[in-house]
Assembly symmetry: none
Homo-oligomer: 125 residues x 4
DNA sequence: GTGGTCTAGACCACC
DNA sequence: GTGGTCTAGACCACG
């Protein structure tokens, strides 16, 4: 599964889909010509409303990121979305801020979070 | 300035304020008893409407993060959550797992996340 | 009509709505899963501003009393507090003590309070 | 102590004072010529701000309910406030609604509250 | 159609 | 001066 939804983040679902498709293309996980899940399938997989997926795909099509071929599906277009470093940084910032806010709810401070992550790194290496 | 707004992120302003206040607490920049900017001042500083700030502060108060004293201001609350250590550790694990899943959706790896967090630590010192 | 506003009481409108929704639940007029009036409808019915209703519903949602489903409405939540019986009894005792103290401040005796409550029971049936 | 403050009710403090003084006079607990606590004393007793008491007393004086004699204190005036049955009923309604809302927070319904109160009545008789 | 967010601006309560 | 409440009205997100 290339796409997932975080219902707690406050970011509209359709926006999360758009962003993730763009990021997936930008980093090469999706390549021009690749076929995306049908709107129905994705809606079921993510447990969200069909129209929300429709809207995300439509906006991506308008931008030229996706191309719809009636009857055969939706595909990654030739025009690759540009995600510059600034945009990437902004995304990471947003994710981190949200993480730290959530951690703070349980009384964790920045150091504890850093330490927890470092441990994961050691284990994985 | 402890708080800033990214109007392009799609995240509601009041939610950004909530997250950043919590983050500031996690980072140690705000400590129990500290006074926050007045609602009016913060609204001016962020160039947003007064009511948006009021709403953010209010939600933080309901959650017990902030305490308001009529006529004198808004302060960081003193009551912190009491959870036993095991429960706490489990909570942190879960939060980190969610973070890494989300980061991965956008193509960030553990190193990038760690680096982003470290930068935040430096900024705060 | 489940909810009404007393504009002369000095109690904020949004608080009156919150209290009356909770009261309706305690009385059994609202049960888990029931749909509430739309924010717009209730605003019209009570002749108050839309945002005041929004605020009341929102606080009730944060407390877990209500659940909103984007695009379809606001419903009475299913999760009810889980407290053990002893704790529960102690809680009720405390609430009743406060009630009687307050009622006494205004010169009401236990009989009058009992009578007032009984009338509410009749109305609800 | 004739007056008490319920900080959870949402009713402004000065209004609670005004109402309770009026009710106390209406039911005869305070009679014309009786001396009230000084503003300073009452503020200390109720743990509220001095100005809040000042304001309550001032409004009561404007209404003719109280009379201030410079240097010797504040006294109940000759003009007795009229509290009709409707006003009394409204007050009781407000108190009961708030009680039931609070009870609902802990999952109690109207019947349980009634039963709890009935038990108190038996004990006291 | 539903709820969610934001703005602009007024007036009140309290220190 | 502080925060609290309410109104009026716009625009967005979602089903």
């Amino acid at each position: 599964m290339l796409i997932s939804i975080d219902s707690k983040s406050g970011v509209p679902f359709y926006r999360q889909i758009i962003e993730q498709v763009k990021f997936a293309i930008a980093r090469g996980d999706l390549e021009p010509g690749d076929r995306l899940p049908t709107v129905r399938q994705l809606a079921v997989d993510l447990s969200i409303n069909l129209n929300t997926v429709v809207r995300a795909y439509r906006e991506l099509e308008i931008e030229g990121v996706l191309e719809t071929q009636q009857g055969s599906g939706t595909f990654v277009g030739r025009k690759r979305p540009r995600i510059d470093d600034l945009e990437r940084q902004r995304m990471l910032d947003q994710i981190l801020t949200e993480l730290l806010a959530r951690a703070s709810d349980y009384g964790f401070n920045l150091d504890e979070v850093l330490q927890g992550l470092s441990q994961r790194k050691e284990k994985s290496s």
